[in-house]
Symmetry: C2
Subunit: 237 residues, 2 copies
DNA sequence: ATACATTTGTGCGTATGTATG
DNA sequence: GCATACATACGCACAAATGTA
């Protein structure tokens, strides 16, 4: 089913990311006629962009492109991974699949993925490159209950893209955990780095719309100057 | 001016953080009668908690307390700093003021704070402790245009609390930048750590409701196992 | 398996307040 | 003072998912 506010949000996000809007966005009223939607729906769409830190809003003035992300080279927006991944990336990302295994969830993984111990899971280990430079080591788990089939060819490209297109799954939300992580001997060897050297690690737990987790990943990023950006709204007092 | 949805959001957040709700929240309908508000207003309030990762929502079922943050000791929610700071902290935070200076913005700071070069600014350096343990070194700048007065006594407590209560300023949103930062010689000396040792550093730029930045800070956190949590909604496809 | 009530999700409308220019 | 634009708050209707009888 096509959701109006999602469609509009996608369209607006595209225009922001493709620099069709460089400073000011059309007013809510203009967007209402442009997209044939009510004010609530338009604001719903704009809320998504706002929460992701793509735009700023000023009462009485209008909506503006957020430039916090522009200019810096190694800034990654935690809210949509734009910057290093999909849209904002300058060079395409290639993935070297180190492992693609069918395993069963142990107790720890079962708790994380909220599944039975022994539930079938894909375990994938990938090295990710951009512009011929290693930038991340990713270990990821997919519940076969939701993702029944994966192949090496799929894992060399974008797994999420495959999932969304083929299984018509939509990711509703995610929990992200950021820490400093010191590489293990094995990880250091794989990535040609020093053992114990500190990296930024992002753990990610992705949920379907019924709040069921279907994917868990741990990714270490190797840019020394990598900056993770995140936009916060509505402080509570 | 008191905003209904903000009041309700504060009330609900309190109840979640004080474990008045342990699993399921009342339904939207129940909250409507409890707070005497329309469904839109209630949903507005719940949206805030949802975006901050305090609650989960399941269509047809209800709203639930997000347990992603519970259980772990050193998890800090980037969206509201609960965990290490205000509500969720087990021990009160004390601040040792190392510096409290009146300076003028140089070119770099002026660009960050969107002010004139030479604009008067407070520069504060603090060591922050919890449970008699050093946990952060903070360097922060406040534009005097908005925060005309600060004292050592105020800085030893919560600056934000003072600002909100006395200047009736409300923080609308913030940009956060997370990196690995290696301590300088001076910083290492102050904090009794090894020079060059890696820490998690959060840069924060806080905005007033007209999108004017009024505060910029850089804080290094010293828990080796500190984890930064962040909740992401509404992936765009 | 079905039907039904409950609960959240989407979308529309309207009115009024507040900030900007 | 005025027009414009975003902010808050109310209302309604129907869709979709869930839980239960």
């Amino acid at each position: 089913m096509v959701l109006k506010y999602q469609e509009i949000a996608n369209s607006l996000a595209d225009k922001v990311n493709n620099h069709e809007y460089t400073d000011k966005l059309p007013s809510e009223g203009e967007l209402m006629t442009e997209y044939g939607a009510s004010r609530n729906t338009i604001r719903n769409s704009l809320d998504i962009l706002y929460n992701q830190g793509l735009i700023k809003r000023i009462q009485g003035s209008g909506y503006f492109v957020n430039t916090a992300l522009h200019g810096e080279d190694y800034v990654m927006n935690l809210a949509n991974k734009v910057g290093m991944n999909s849209l904002g990336v300058k060079y395409p990302i290639t993935s070297q699949v180190l492992k693609l295994e069918s395993i069963e969830a142990d107790e720890k993984l079962a708790e994380i993925l909220e599944c039975e111990v022994g539930a079938p899971v894909y375990y994938i280990q990938r090295l990710r490159h951009s512009n011929n430079k290693l930038y991340a080591l990713e270990k990821t788990y997919y519940l076969k209950e939701f993702i029944p089939y994966l192949s090496k060819e799929i894992c060399e490209k974008s797994i999420f893209k495959f999932i969304i297109e083929n299984y018509h799954i939509s990711i509703k939300n995610a929990d992200e955990y950021v820490t400093i992580y010191n590489l293990s001997d094995e990880e250091a060897k794989i990535t040609d780095r020093e053992s114990g050297s500190p990296t930024i690690r992002i753990e990610e737990l992705n949920y379907l719309k019924n709040e069921r987790p279907f994917n868990y990943s741990r990714t270490c990023y190797f840019q020394d100057d990598l900056t993770i950006y995140y936009h916060v709204n509505n402080y509570l007092n």
